[in-house]
């Protein structure tokens, strides 16, 4: 299983992302967004991870998303890049297992220039959407304990 927690009210899962074609990797805290169709890297993380300067369509490893991403603040056309997402895997007793849980795919990336406001407070954070969450056996929101247990298929 994977173990997440809450930042006040928001469900979060820390992980490590590797972007092999952009020679970048780093720590990311993902919002667990069961209402999102797709996962994405938020504008803040795209800068913090050093992705932003490499995000242009002249780069053969960067594509434009085929469809815009629509949220409460409007629509944007993100970039798409390959990513390996790693999360610490735990045994039934919560003990850390030697092998992490890893998924590989393409992920949408937002940049500050795509945002309608320069105020980072209003920028979306990186999130895990249905494209990743659908692979979990179940997600157990233990609100009283401030924990989220992601049960993985056997």
């Amino acid at each position: 299983m994977l173990l997440g927690g809450f930042d006040g009210t928001r469900p979060l899962l820390p992980g490590f992302a590797v972007f092999p074609n952009l020679n970048s990797s780093g720590q990311v805290i993902f919002l667990v967004d069961t209402g999102a169709d797709i996962s994405l890297i938020g504008p803040g993380d795209s800068v913090a991870l050093g992705l932003e300067p490499q995000l242009n369509l002249a780069n053969p490893h960067v594509q434009q998303a085929p469809t815009p991403v629509t949220g409460i603040g409007g629509s944007v056309q993100p970039y798409v890049i390959q990513v390996y997402l790693f999360f610490p895997a735990r045994g039934p007793a919560g003990n850390l297992l030697p092998d992490p849980y890893c998924r590989v795919g393409t992920i949408d990336v937002l940049t500050p220039a795509m945002m309608r406001t320069p105020d980072p407070q209003l920028w979306p954070m990186s999130c895990l959407g249905w494209d990743v969450l659908q692979h979990m056996e179940s997600i157990d929101f233990r609100l009283g304990q401030g924990q989220i247990l992601f049960h993985l298929p056997a």
């Binding site: 927690g5 809450f6 930042d7 006040g8 928001r10 979060l12 820390p14 992980g15 490590f16 590797v18 092999p20 970048s24 990797s25 780093g26 720590q27 990311v28 805290i29 919002l31 967004d33 209402g35 999102a36 169709d37 797709i38 996962s39 803040g44 993380d45 800068v47 913090a48 991870l49 050093g50 949220g71 409460i72 798409v80 390996y84 997402l85 790693f86 999360f87 610490p88 030697p98 092998d99 992490p100 890893c102 998924r103 590989v104 795919g105 393409t106 992920i107 500050p112 980072p120 407070q121 209003l122 920028w123 249905w130 494209d131 990743v132 659908q134 692979h135």
Partner: protein
Amino acid sequence: MSTFRLLSAKKCQSICPDVANQLEKATANARFLKTHHKELVQKYASQWVAIADGRVVGHGPDLAALAGELSRQGLTPADTLTHFISKTQQVFVL
């Protein structure tokens, strides 16, 4: 819609040989952020903070400037967790 393929443990190792260590750091930094959140709001409201090894290693309102400062310290995004500390509680509908 894209889907994410599961990667074997062996392949994980080849992609990121040091991943266990990196995940340990990421988990510790996320724990620090959670347990010190109130203190961080008092000290660094409306700023980006970078956390590494259980302490704040950089902060400021300009994320690009902070990234440059971290780089000068020899820290990479693999070492640090960077997070924006909101001044006021936001109400989101996602």
